[in-house]
């Protein structure tokens, strides 16, 4: 792990983020549909109001620093433009104002929805890592056995299921029919909790079904990953050596194969973090979970550009840095990686 490699990866990450910011801006400005138009369905609006709305949201400025017109042909410089505003503000942590939730800053709105997602995804990841890696290691070690066939088969099936396909039956069975858990939301709204425990219980009961949905979906993938990693490790020399030394099968598995198979698996799990958040969108919708997923879809429906930009930026930055850390650590741990 040379300092040069470290520096290069860091520069790369920063460039990627800058690129994301630019892409973010360009993508959203090119999108069809202008938000202030929503207002026009209101028959009573005056032109002055429209203009005021445009000004308040900065939509009256030129989009780019250079504007090219064809009729008449010409190029003009626009010192006041939305791009410069956007980049400058982004780096100051100011992501502008949401159009949909009028008057709330994007950061505020995202923050409100950020914690529920972290809670849900965080717990789901923990459950999925514990169960998935355990299952994968076990089935991989017992490759070809009955447990492997069943375990791996089930893993493949849930791996093939979109989250909402897992979630819908869970709601019907455990919420609508059996009434074990609430159908949706994150807490009973407006509940005055007598104690912290009550609050945990309330949130916990709302959490069970969405958590089960996402965990199940992840367990499939993680177990497949771990299984193949274990199978590979089994063939390594040190396992053969350990076996030759007469160590018990169980001991070889827990002390040698498992820790070694864990490394690449954990790395991939880390890299996947961002995708998991995005993928949980449909699970959040099905359970009306007030997280980033439902927020993204709501924002898309309302053409809330600033909010979409914010979510996209947040997710991208998270993934970029999770990747960076994973890469660097991997480099430390596995001396073969030096490129």
């Amino acid at each position: 792990m040379s300092p040069r490699y470290l520096a290069r990866r860091l520069v790369q990450a920063v460039l990627t983020v800058l690129f994301v910011v630019l892409l973010n801006f360009i993508l959203f400005r090119m999108m069809p549909g202008s938000p202030e138009r929503v207002l026009l369905r209101n028959p009573h609006l005056t032109a002055a109001t429209m203009q005021a709305a445009r000004e308040r949201w900065g939509l009256d400025k030129a989009k780019f620093p250079v504007s090219i017109s064809f009729d008449p042909p010409g190029i003009s410089l626009e010192p006041e433009n939305q791009l410069f505003d956007y980049v400058a503000a982004s780096f100051q942590g100011d992501l502008g104002y949401s159009l949909q939730f009028r008057g709330r800053s994007v950061v505020d709105v995202i923050e409100e929805r950020f914690w529920p997602t972290i809670l849900l995804i965080g717990l789901a990841e923990i459950v999925a890592i514990v169960v998935g890696l355990g299952l994968g290691a076990y089935t991989g070690w017992r490759r070809g056995g009955v447990a492997d066939r069943i375990g791996n088969g089930l893993s493949l099936i849930v791996y093939s299921m979109p989250y909402f396909v897992i979630g819908m039956p869970l709601i019907i069975i455990f919420a609508a029919e059996l009434h074990w858990f609430p159908t949706s939301g994150m807490s009973t709204p407006g509940q005055d909790y007598a104690s912290l425990v009550d609050r945990f219980v309330d949130i916990g009961s709302h959490l069970v079904l969405p958590l089960a949905t996402i965990s199940l979906g992840l367990i499939g993938g993680y177990s497949i990953l771990m299984r193949s990693s274990i199978i590979e490790t089994r063939a390594e020399d040190y396992v053969t050596t350990a076996r030759a030394k007469g160590l018990s099968d169980r001991r070889i598995m827990t002390a040698h194969a498992f820790p070694n198979a864990l490394l690449p698996t954990v790395t991939i799990v880390a890299i996947n973090l961002g995708y998991v958040v995005a993928g949980a969108i449909t699970a959040e919708i099905v359970f009306n979970w007030p997280g980033l997923g439902t927020l993204t879809v709501d924002a898309l429906k309302a053409r809330d550009y600033p909010l979409l930009q914010g979510v996209f930026l947040l997710l991208s930055v998270t993934v970029v840095f999770a990747n960076l850390i994973a890469d660097v650590l991997y480099g430390f741990l596995d001396p073969r990686v030096r490129t």
Partner: protein
């Protein structure tokens, strides 16, 4: 190793311990005095001037009173004003206020507040602009109000040049001057202004319930106003929950987590009829779903370069009339909206029974008639059976609709098929609402490069306020470039519109409205497909006293929040033993709650997010390091 495994099991067990008690606890709400409503919208703003959603109206109506309210039959009833009277010369109205009236914070509520609130709107009208989104202030403009005066603390006099009683139907909240007094019609629309204060005491108003908490995308919560005098609601709290899927909402209703669900699907409606303790209600709505035509050029002869309707046939009333015979409206009502609605005719919905007049001859579904009428109007078919327009071009109509309602696409499939039977090819396409608005606006909207009204037909929906002028207005010539989507223009219609505004009495107005509806139906810029009912459902095991407003409407989310104030205790009414938790929860909800304050966290901004991202990064790092150490140990052994 064994200990490590044990520790892992311990962690899982701990997690289970946290989650499992939840399974034992019954889902669904305790039998407390909290009214829980579910809507398929997500509140956009707490500011009355900044909301564009039904749920936003509900929120500010609960929080603030109007000058005059709506009774059970939509008759004007005292609200902020205790009484109201028109002067003999018809040029002014006198509103009287109760001397002992108080705001929810205990401050006296007087005529000063009323004058302040109305003056804001009048200032905006005088400046030829709007407050905020501009939904509220036009009420005073339409009512012809020119001046308000408050000679003493209990009196307000409004001068008007209008003969109607529209002044009694203004959705204009009376807001407390002692809080908002320093704001003008321009600054009052700032969005964050009306958010519930962090002290949990609620947004000061004089309405029956005050907002104490808003969680975007989740819910808004209200507490009862101790100083509200008119009708006292039984419930201590109201919570409006926002849903993104109507299935989730209905599940919540069935599970008892909700007491009321607004707008459910026809199939859900039918299924809920068999659910114990749930009542379904299909309220006649003041709105409709239409098939509209792009008639751009009608009455003006204008064309749009690179846009506009694809054939001149669309400007021909005879063509539109003929197509009207190729629509089986009854079939649409039965299949698409499950029978919950009435077939559509004129631009004033039948729910306004005083004003709705059926046309003299209603079109029936008759494909042969449609063909004959098309032939007669000069639209021949070619060898393949395709209809040709008068330029001998095959007619191929682009039918557009928004994705906001899944029923539009169902309607479209029928239309495609029926029009196909008379030789008119139709290509349907779904857009998101904003894109569609951009697509449909004509150059008159301001930007001739961007707005080209490039469509032929559309399916969309409208809903209206209590005065028929609303729905008449969008067909005026001056609405092209604004709210008009048929881009239809007829000077006679415009003249009639102005006349009905100043008609000396209701009988005279009805005569004009009859003429306008007949003319509009014959000209057919729209074919109103159906007046679709509002399908709502509510539980009857917790609250009783549900009363539709008006009788053929729905109990809640109607013209006013009257329904919320009429509820009573269902458990007492049916004399069934109250659940043991009633007393306890009533006690807890009586005292001010230690509601989790959102204020403290919202101020901190991006930092906590970054902290968590950093924490995640650290966790990953630690995980990897641990696995490395284990690897090290493994190699030593």
């Amino acid at each position: 190793m064994r200990t490590r495994t044990a520790r892992a099991f311990g962690a899982v067990a701990l997690l289970m311990a946290i989650l499992l008690p939840a399974a034992a606890a019954p889902a669904g709400a305790a039998n407390d005095k909290v009214l829980r409503l579910g809507v398929l919208q997500s509140l956009d703003s707490m500011n009355p001037y900044g909301t564009a959603l039904v749920v936003g109206y509900e929120v500010f109506e609960l929080n603030f009173q109007q000058m005059v309210g709506f009774g059970s039959d939509l008759e004007p009833v005292p609200d902020f004003a205790a009484s109201f009277e028109r002067a003999a010369d018809k040029h002014s109205w006198t509103f009287k206020f109760r001397p002992d009236m108080k705001w929810s914070d205990g401050q006296p509520a007087t005529s000063a507040d009323a004058c302040f609130s109305w003056q804001l709107a009048l200032d905006a009208i005088a400046a030829d602009t709007n407050i905020g989104l501009g939904y509220l202030d036009p009420a005073l403009k339409n009512a012809g109000v020119t001046k308000v005066e408050c000679p003493d603390a209990t009196t307000m006099i409004a001068t008007t040049d209008d003969n109607s009683s529209r002044i009694l139907q203004t959705y204009l909240p009376i807001i407390p001057k002692h809080i908002w007094g320093k704001y003008t019609y321009e600054t009052i629309a700032e969005d964050k202004l009306f958010e519930p204060p962090a002290d949990g005491k609620g947004l000061v108003g004089s309405g029956p319930y005050q907002a104490v908490e808003w969680k975007t995308g989740e819910f808004v919560r209200f507490k009862k106003n101790p100083n509200y005098a008119v009708n006292k609601g039984f419930e201590d709290e109201i919570i409006i929950r926002f849903f993104s899927s109507n299935d989730t909402m209905v599940q919540a209703l069935k599970a008892g987590e909700l007491d009321y669900a607004r707008t459910i699907s026809a199939d859900q409606f039918k299924a809920l009829a068999n659910e114990p303790n749930v009542t379904t209600v299909n309220g006649a709505s003041n709105g409709w779903t239409e098939l509209g035509f792009n008639t751009y050029g009608t009455g003006t002869g204008k064309t749009i370069k690179g846009g506009g309707p694809s054939t001149k046939a669309l400007q021909d009333p005879a063509f539109r009339d003929a197509l009207g015979y190729a629509i089986d409206k009854q079939k649409l009502v039965d299949s698409v909206i499950g029978g919950y609605g009435a077939i559509g005719t004129t631009q004033i919905a039948p729910v306004l029974k005083a004003w709705h007049v059926e046309p003299t001859q209603v079109r029936t579904f008759d494909i042969e008639m449609a063909k004959q009428k098309l032939d007669a109007a000069g639209y021949k078919t070619d060898a393949s059976g395709a209809r040709l327009d008068k330029e001998n071009k095959p007619i191929n109509l682009r039918l557009v609709m928004p994705d906001s309602d899944a029923n539009f696409a169902k309607d479209a499939q029928f239309i495609v098929d029926w029009f196909g039977q008379v030789g008119v090819k139709v290509t349907p396409k779904v857009y998101d609402e904003d894109t569609l608005i951009d697509l449909m606006l004509p150059p008159e909207a301001g930007d001739p490069v961007k707005y080209k009204a490039d469509y032929d037909m559309f399916i969309w929906t409208w809903s209206w306020g209590p005065d028929p002028s609303d729905s008449l207005q969008v067909f005026n010539c001056d609405q092209i470039g604004s709210s008009s989507d048929s881009l239809w223009c007829n000077k006679d219609y415009d003249a009639l519109y102005q006349q009905q505004l100043v008609a000396p009495d209701d009988a005279a107005r009805l005569a004009i409205l009859t003429q306008m509806q007949q003319m509009w139906y014959e000209q057919a810029p729209y074919h109103v497909l159906y007046y679709d009912d509002n399908l709502h459902a509510y539980r009857t095991d917790k609250f009783a006293g549900w009363k539709n407003q008006p009788a053929n409407g729905t109990p809640l989310f109607s013209y006013s929040i009257l329904g919320e104030t009429l509820l009573t205790d269902a458990t007492a009414a049916t004399a069934t033993p109250a659940a043991p938790s009633t007393a306890a929860s009533a006690a807890t909800s009586a005292q001010p709650s230690a509601a989790p304050t959102t204020g403290s966290s919202t101020s901190s901004g991006m930092t906590p997010i970054l902290l968590v991202v950093a924490a995640l990064v650290v966790i990953v790092a630690v995980g990897l390091t641990l696995s490395r150490r284990r690897r090290g140990t493994a190699e030593e052994e």
